[in-house]
């Protein structure tokens, strides 16, 4: 379970997020939806302990990311923006390296890497150096790397960026499996269809604030429209008007 309360973060004069509170429950896929520059990545980066917030608090399974960052990191797997991998290592070595950094013994991390390679359909390229990987192959490698320590919570920043239809399907299926196994999944996206197809819960974020949170159906009802896209636009719009002087 992932919780955040009143997170705020400034970069110089720019306020990236201002009072973001959210909750992502176990056994559910929660989508962080918002236009570019809304503060999705900043929120995720604070949750996965790369950034320190100027104000507010956040917890992973009740462990404070500020007070016990190492313990919090143990409980989550992260697919960061861009899915960078080490070009001179093979996909398998990339995955096993992160297993090692998570403190897994050699046998355990080998077995986990092998299992993830099968599950994510990576067998064809698993033992090639990552240098020449396509974006899809890189994302799969990065995803396997994030899951190697079997984290209870999974955070993904724009995971479907640059993926083809087949890769997106594999990803969706995997996220669905993880949810059914009781994991807590939080991912950010600016693609409406994806959120609609995948999420049990949607958090709409705009201008560094949470505009609305709820199940897709509830959000549609609140915005009095049948499409999530329309709901999204209306909710962001109303928040703009609300904050105007």
């Amino acid at each position: 379970m992932i919780e955040a309360r009143e997170l705020s973060k400034r970069f110089g004069a720019l306020s990236a997020i201002d009072g973001v509170s959210l909750r992502a429950a176990d056994g559910r896929i929660t989508g962080l939806l918002g236009p570019n520059g809304a503060g999705k990545s900043t929120t995720l980066r604070i949750l996965y302990t790369v950034l320190t917030p100027d104000g507010g608090e956040a917890w992973i399974d009740g462990v404070s990311v500020l007070a016990e960052p190492l313990e919090a990191r143990r409980r989550m797997g992260v697919l960061a923006h861009g899915a960078g991998v080490y070009p001179n290592l093979t996909a398998r070595e990339n995955i096993e390296y992160f297993g090692a950094l998570h403190g897994l013994e050699r046998d355990v991390r080998r077995a986990r890497a092998a299992e993830l390679i099968t599950r994510l359909e990576m067998t064809a390229f698993a033992d090639r150096p990552a240098k020449g990987f396509s974006q899809g192959e890189r994302v799969k490698t990065a995803l396997a790397r994030a899951l190697v320590h079997q984290p209870r919570n999974v955070l993904l920043d724009e995971p479907t960026n640059g993926l083809d239809v087949m890769a997106v399907r594999t990803l969706r299926r995997l996220l669905g499996q993880l949810r059914d196994a009781g994991h807590c999944i939080l991912f950010s996206s600016h693609v409406m269809q994806e959120v609609a197809a995948l999420c049990d819960e949607v958090i709409i974020i705009a201008g560094g604030r949470v505009v609305a949170q709820g199940e897709p159906e509830a959000l549609k009802a609140r915005a009095a429209t049948a499409s999530l896209e329309e709901a999204f636009v209306r909710l962001i719009d109303s928040s703009d008007r609300g904050s105007a002087p």
């Binding site: 980066r45 996965y48 302990t49 790369v50 950034l51 320190t52 190492l70 313990e71 990191r73 143990r74 989550m76 992260v78 697919l79 960061a80 923006h81 861009g82 899915a83 960078g84 991998v85 080490y86 070009p87 001179n88 290592l89 070595e93 390296y97 992160f98 090692a100 950094l101 998570h102 403190g103 150096p129 990065a142 790397r145 994030a146």
Partner: protein, 391 residues
């Protein structure tokens, strides 16, 4: 602790796989640079050998105007070829020629007979170093001839020729063959320190700018390992590469230098396994400081390219004290042994000269270099805590 070793292992493995960086680290640095320097030194030795001995080829215009002078010069290994030329052509001729040209003016004989200064013109292109040596020898030969005539004139007039020698100076050269060679080998310590530092460059840049540019920095920061440990692992890998390069460079020098003609300068006996080991041990304490400094500098840059530029400049910093030492003729003393890289230079030079520095001075060098390393390593360890690092 285990995490440090795991990062170390991965960095080493990645470096060994990257052919380009491996080529720079282990081939260009430790093999090519010593080979290049060996060639330069060997050329320098051969050149300095031919300058002061052996015949001088001298072209002479109007040789018939000074037969006795030329006879005198021939006695001192000056081989004379006569040429037909006027003054203007002589100037042009010499600009491209290998040797100097002596032009004897029409009134040379007459003025000599009259006891007036007799003019001579020596054309030479002194930008050529080998010509410089020949000109110096010719000048002193002609001065000798001129002096002899002067003495004879005094004797003829009943005066003591000693009047012409108010001061008799004797130059006593105290340099040993080793110390003369060490002067030529001054570039050696520079080459050793430079290749050593250069070998850590790739991993140092990779620690910050490289990880960031490939997008692996953020995932790396989400593993449950204290961030200093990640940096220490990379630092250790950079140090290992630097140590390998240092050992390789010194080994290559130890093997090749005896073959470049050092024997003529009495150096060959001096660069044995013991000296090589001494140089490696003397330079090792500088490794942690060098690696940490490069990592620190690279962390302030925004891209891999920028990091390469700045870290490349940092590689020049340790050479500055060496240049000062050469210009100012600095000799080792305790205060100077507290300057990292300069003190390593002194240790190397002392070993090459066959005069190892006293233990106390070496201890200062080792102590200060390691202390500086400890401080810089601490600073580097804090790097990954800064958010700015994410760029």
């Amino acid at each position: 602790m285990r995490a440090i070793w795991r990062v170390f292992g991965k960095e080493v493995r990645e470096t060994l796989r990257d052919r380009r960086s491996l080529f720079t680290t282990l081939i260009v640095g430790p093999l090519l640079i010593p080979a290049l320097i060996g060639t330069v030194i060997s050329l320098a030795i051969r050149h300095s050998g031919t300058e002061n001995t052996g015949p001088i080829m001298l072209s002479v215009a109007h040789a018939d105007r000074a037969p006795r002078l030329l006879g005198f010069l021939r006695q001192y290994q000056v081989e004379i070829t006569t040429v037909n030329t006027d003054r203007e052509r002589a100037r042009r001729l010499v600009a491209h020629a290998q040797g100097p040209l002596l032009y004897i003016p029409r009134d040379f004989g007459a003025r000599l007979m009259a006891g007036e200064p007799a003019p001579l013109r020596l054309y030479a292109n002194e930008s050529n170093r080998s010509v410089q040596g020949k000109v110096a020898r010719l000048s002193s030969l002609i001065a000798l001839y001129s002096g002899t005539i002067a003495r004879l004139r005094l004797v003829v007039r009943g005066l003591d020729p000693q009047l012409l020698t108010p001061i008799a100076m004797h130059l006593i050269d105290t340099s040993t063959p080793q110390s003369r060679a060490a002067l030529t080998l001054g570039i050696l310590s520079y080459a050793i320190l430079f290749t050593m530092l250069m070998s850590g460059l790739y991993i140092a840049i990779d620690t910050t700018a490289g990880e960031r540019e490939r997008g692996t920095l953020e995932p790396l920061l989400t593993v449950p390992v204290a961030r200093e440990q990640l940096v220490y692992g990379k630092l250790l890998a950079a140090c290992a590469m630097m140590l390998v390069a240092l050992v390789l460079t010194v080994t290559v020098f130890a093997i090749t230098l005896p073959h470049v003609g050092l024997a003529r300068l009495g150096m060959s006996a001096n660069f044995g396994p013991a000296v090589a080991a001494g140089i490696v041990l003397g330079c090792m304490p500088l490794i942690p400081a060098g690696a940490a400094l490069m990592i620190l500098v690279a962390s302030y840059t925004r891209s891999y390219r920028e990091a390469q530029t700045y870290v490349g400049l940092v590689l020049l910093v340790p050479t500055l004290p060496l240049i000062f030492a050469n210009i100012l003729g600095l000799a080792p003393r305790p205060a100077l042994m507290a300057v990292p890289s300069l003190s390593q230079h002194f240790i190397i030079m002392g070993l090459l000269r066959g005069q190892p520095l006293p233990g106390g001075e070496v201890a200062i060098s080792v102590g200060v270099s390691l202390a500086l390393g400890a401080v810089l390593v601490q600073l580097a360890g804090r790097l990954y805590r800064r958010e700015r690092l994410l760029g």
